[in-house]
Amino acid sequence: MPSTTADENAMPDPYRKQLDKYAEALSIAHNDEVVGDLKSGNTADMLKMFTDGNLDKRFNKVKDQVEFVAEFFDEEEFEEQVVTYVKTLPLLAYDTGISDGERFLDWLPSQLELSEEQKDAIRCQQARHKIEDVARENRLAHVSFQGQLTVAEKLAEDFGEDDKLQIQVNPICVRTTFKTTALLGDDAEVPAIVQFYPVKNDIRTALLEDDGLELIDVLHESGPTTLDNLQAAMTFKMSRDELMELCLELVEIKLATIR
């Protein structure tokens, strides 16, 4: 008996073509392309109610998703861009909570000349979205790590003395570089590498020195590890006590945990 193939799930072309026509037109309110296919007695007004409602809903969702970025733009101009976006680019299949806003941010630079501050705001929002994407792909690791955080403070007291204790980095980490001080404060040195990570469902940021950034990279590479193994793996040379102190700083800000 022949095995089942994906082709067996393919529908006849006429139905596929029919739905392509309907979905592509209605997703951006090109109702004229569809109105002739309505059942007798149905009117263009009814179709318009459907597409107006959907576009309004999408407009509000995108606005919510990029609310942070909007603060760096003229309000009216920004809203016009969102309107243009939802009327021009259809929502993609399997849109998740943030994917449309993310796509809007990818599209926005093609419409406006952006300042460096605006670009930083976009980088910041993109990093936050990326955190959600990474957490979606690694949900079990996220939940497990957040659970482990609840005992980290207690275990940290013995870290470095108890050889069995291991340090583990937050598995949901995203890094971006800010090129201005707009989001950092006037005293910050730029460009600055900013680490994003979640604590429960809150997204936090940390500005780390080079040794801290390397420590995170090494921990991502190694998985949970002891202080001694960590010291052997680091190229950034520091004493055991200095490394332990750095580890405990990461634990304190919940970027790492002890297990």
Partner: protein
């Protein structure tokens, strides 16, 4: 045993979900699907029946639902100990690599659409295994030209797929008002072909400007819908697992949430007492 009664869970009604009239709960997948959430969505709430209600299986699309979406749905169902899963008889996208319209539309009621829908429901039901799947009749603002009517299409879909029917009583009411058919005849015609039933109840608003009843989930359940609900319960004895109330806007106060659940339960108890 009486079917369970509950609300579609919203943060606004979470505090009253331990009310004695409530022993079921519906989780809207898209609300629960927060990748950063650490606790299970139900938190410490317990129910006799939990259903996961999805919005984007798009069972009338040209392609079956993507596995990634179904996997995420299943994870939420597992996490919250769900007994059933449901979605709408409509399409939100054309196909896998296609576009979303933002809301489900009724398919053209044609043989091709029926074949696609039944095929997709087979994929869905195989994927979810022992968890019963329920297909909801939608409220629509327009219909495409087709080869059969909604009742015929729904009946054939239920017969051929073996899917349960999530009878949205308010949607039947809205469509009957907006498109001039008999809501009682609609339910009476479909019910014999559904071997498992859940129900949705909600309140919308009649928009005088457009002369349409809008299923906005923004008002108390109207008396006409309660009458239809009673009728549907009488017709579906022994087949109903759960009845869920939906409210998404203009939320009532605590007493309002509780009294509406009680009213739904009172009618059910009357109907089941009579039938006993």
């Amino acid at each position: 045993m009486l079917p369970t009664i509950g609300y579609a869970l919203r943060e606004q009604n979470r505090p009253i979900l331990t009310d004695p009239a409530i022993n079921g709960c519906e989780i809207t997948f898209e609300r629960a699907d927060d990748p950063l959430r650490v606790e299970k969505y139900l938190q410490d709430l317990n129910f006799d029946h939990v259903s996961i209600h999805a919005l984007k299986l798009s069972v009338a699309s040209a392609d079956p639902p993507g596995e990634k979406y179904m996997k995420a749905l299943k994870e939420i169902a597992d996490e919250n100990g769900a007994d059933s899963i449901s979605d709408h008889l409509g399409f939100t996208r054309n196909a896998h690599e296609g576009v979303e319209m933002g809301h489900f539309a009724p398919p053209p009621y044609t043989q091709d659409a029926l074949e696609a829908t039944v095929r997709n429901l087979d994929v869905v039901q195989n994927y979810f295994g022992d968890r019963r799947f329920y297909l909801e009749n939608v409220a629509y603002l327009f219909e495409f030209a087709g080869e059969m009517n909604e009742q015929e299409f729904l009946t054939e879909t239920l017969k051929r797929s073996g899917s349960g029917w999530l009878l949205d009583v308010t949607n039947v009411y809205a469509n009957s008002v907006n498109f001039g058919y008999d809501a009682y005849e609609f339910i009476k015609g479909v019910m014999p072909h559904a071997d498992a039933v859940q129900m949705h109840l909600a309140g919308g608003v009649y928009d005088e400007k457009v002369k349409k009843y809008i299923d906005s989930h923004s008002h108390p359940i109207p008396d006409d819908v309660f009458d239809l609900y009673r009728f549907a319960l009488e017709l579906s004895k022994g087949k109903v697992s759960a009845v869920f109330i939906e409210r998404d806007q203009e939320f009532p106060d605590e007493a309002g949430w509780r009294s509406e659940a009680k009213q739904v339960r009172d009618i059910m108890e009357e109907v089941y007492a009579v039938s006993a």
